[in-house]
């Protein structure tokens, strides 16, 4: 699903070059729930931005869903994000003028779905994330956890090949964080959704079926492990 080879990202800060990624290689298979972990400043966000086609690496090769994405034009990248990727930001990033439902179906509308179709899909997904009764609420009427669930629903609406999430629980208390992580685990287990999540919280580790450890912009190691979504580890809310 994802093949990365020698991904490098250098930020030019005046005379100083900051090497955020120093040649990162790994592969992620369809249906995996992968955690990218590492301390603050280790390059996790930089990597996820590149995987999510929001940024371009300075060097390296990257194949996503069978496409050499580094060869795409701006326009093709935009289309690719719309149709094949979902992205969940740390601070939810909802469009404040839109209701929960509108935030969710916007991507579907952009893709050209009919009104009936996008309304139906958006409602289904809103139910799936447990916010069926919040459809017409705007951002300011929703709690942080609810906003993040809307953001996850938005990322899912076009049935993407991969969902990326960059520290989606960083602004939430641990109880709410757990419901979000459970939601991701359930999506992975029940829909086979490929998920790549960044985290630096050690207790999140048991949700990931594989962990890529980053340190100073380099892969320090990869571990396959028992995880909640495979039912190997207790703690997840069973649905």
């Amino acid at each position: 699903m994802i093949t990365a080879e020698g991904l490098t990202r250098i930020y030019h800060m005046g005379a100083v070059d900051v090497r955020a990624l120093g040649g990162v290689s790994f592969a992620i298979e369809r249906g995996e729930f992968v955690g990218i972990m590492g301390s603050s400043g280790s390059g996790k966000s930089t990597l996820l931005h590149i995987l999510g086609l929001l940024d371009q690496p300075t060097a390296g090769r990257l194949e996503v869903d069978g496409v050499n994405v580094l060869g795409l034009s701006d326009r093709e990248r935009t289309r690719f994000r719309l149709e094949r990727l979902g992205y969940v930001f740390q601070d939810y990033a909802l469009i404040s003028e839109l209701t929960a439902l509108e935030n969710i179906y916007l991507s579907s509308l952009v893709r050209g779905a009919s009104r009936d179709e996008y309304l139906r899909t958006a409602r289904e997904i809103l139910d799936e994330v447990g916010l069926g009764d919040r459809a017409d609420h705007q951002q300011y009427e929703l709690s942080g956890g609810e906003q993040q669930r809307v953001a996850i629903a938005r990322a899912l609406v076009n049935r993407p090949a991969i969902v990326f999430a960059d520290e989606p629980c960083a602004n939430l208390d641990s109880a709410t964080s757990k419901t979000i992580l459970d939601l991701f685990a359930r999506l992975n287990r029940e829909l086979g959704q490929t998920i790549v999540m960044v985290s630096h919280e050690d207790w999140h580790r048991r949700y990931f079926c594989r962990v890529i450890n980053l340190k100073d912009g380099l892969v320090e190691g990869t571990e396959e492990q028992a995880c909640v979504s495979h039912g190997d580890v207790p703690g997840g809310t069973k649905s």
């Binding site: 999510g52 509108e102 916007l106 991507s107």
Partner: protein
């Protein structure tokens, strides 16, 4: 293309619906005022032109003016020609006029003037001067030794009240003396004073044509024939008709005769108008630019998110342009309402110009042009800042 429009329209609609209402109303109001400003001044200019044209026809020229053949001083068989033109279909009346140069004197004040000799019964059917007497009465066909003069030349005893050279306060019953260029001197009793508000007519001195024939010793001469037609606006066609009926004298339309003056007036107004238009449009551009600029800068992050989820920058820019177009449309409608209020008021209480009351004349073309130019400049003024912000790197924008 239309898929894109659907997305832009959706975003624009929600932004208008849930955005800041105060800014929205204020922007619409400014656009409305700019629109009024774009249309109002031209409507007054058009009103002045209409007034001036009416005066040209009603007091100065009639519809057509028949003048002597080339190289001739006068129309020497005025009676025959008058009768002949009167019989041409569509001609209402013909008034032969004979003019003679002279100096008009009243109580020591002298002015050089052409004295116009008319046949009062004929002149009444061509011009409306006889209906604008403010003192005394109009001439009768048999009058000799009598004159009617305009309010401007009659003037006031207090010279500060005069707008042009005058005889210093002539009243009905006074006598004025005319010394003609051929040496003949006549005393005339002022029988009436008129005020038409037409500059040249109100500065004129009229006597009967038979009186002037005695002065000049020429009978059946005319300097010009004023022709009134049944319909206004067909002057060119009537001119050709006169020629086709064998008139060999020079035939001019009132438009040709007054072109110089009205041309000067409209040219001066055109310059004022251009300045006013440019200022109005610049105001519209600046306002729209600032509103959209502030709007997009405040939403940098939001725009970044829209791009991150896969919406093309182009569609985001279009959503802002669409918002601007909606604001313009509502503003134009509001402006139209405002304008019709102003026009209605000025129709009831017209502006008093030196030439008379001026009613605003709103021309459809002007309205269409103003709306169109407003739309075009606003769309550009909205496009530029939206395009600048939408072109930013996604991560830069999202970071805020």
């Amino acid at each position: 293309m239309f898929e894109g429009l659907r997305v832009s329209a959706f975003l624009a609609g929600k932004a208008l619906q849930r955005g800041n209402k105060g800014t929205l109303v204020l922007t619409v109001m400014i656009i409305a005022l700019v629109f009024v400003n774009l249309v109002f001044l031209p409507s007054i200019v058009a009103g002045v032109v209409v007034l001036f044209n009416q005066q040209s026809v009603n007091y100065n020229y009639g519809n057509l003016i028949v003048e002597p053949r080339e190289n001739e001083q006068a129309i020497t068989d005025a009676g025959v020609l008058t009768r002949r033109i009167e019989r041409i279909p569509g001609v209402l009346a013909v008034s032969p006029r004979l003019t003679a140069g002279g100096t008009v004197t009243f109580q020591g004040t002298s002015l050089a003037r052409s004295v116009i000799g008319i046949v009062p019964s004929e002149e009444r059917r061509v011009t409306l001067t006889a209906t604008r007497m403010i003192e005394g009465e109009y001439l009768s066909d048999g009058d000799t030794g009598a004159t009617v003069i305009g309010k401007t030349i009659a003037g006031n005893e207090d010279p500060r009240l005069d707008t042009q050279d005058s005889l210093g306060g002539v009243r009905v019953g006074d006598s004025i003396t005319v010394t003609y260029t051929n040496g003949v001197v006549r005393r005339y009793l002022v029988k009436g004073i008129f005020q038409t508000d037409s500059f040249s007519t109100d500065a004129s001195v009229f006597v009967t044509r038979s009186e002037l024939e005695q002065v000049t010793g020429r009978s059946d001469w005319a300097s010009q024939l004023l022709v009134r037609t049944r319909t206004d606006g067909d002057e060119e066609a009537f001119r050709l008709r006169l020629y086709s009926y064998g008139v060999q004298e020079t035939v001019k339309t009132w438009q040709e005769k007054s072109r110089g003056i009205i041309g000067d007036v409209t040219n001066s107004f055109a310059i004022i108008n251009l300045i006013s238009t440019v200022v109005s449009l610049v105001i519209a551009v600046v306002v729209i630019f600032i509103v959209v600029f502030i709007n997009t800068v405040n939403r940098r992050r939001q725009i970044g998110i829209l791009k991150a989820i896969g919406i093309e920058p182009r569609l985001i820019v279009h959503s802002y342009v669409l918002q601007v177009l909606v604001i313009c449309a509502v503003g134009a409608v509001a402006g139209l309402l405002l304008l019709s209020g102003v026009v209605q008021y000025l129709t009831l209480y017209p502006l008093r110009f030196p030439g008379g009351p001026v009613l605003p004349v709103v021309e459809l073309l002007q309205v269409v042009q103003s709306v169109a130019s407003l739309f075009v400049v606003s769309a550009i003024a909205g496009y530029v800042p939206a395009w600048k912000v939408a072109g930013e790197e996604i991560l830069e924008a999202i970071r805020g």
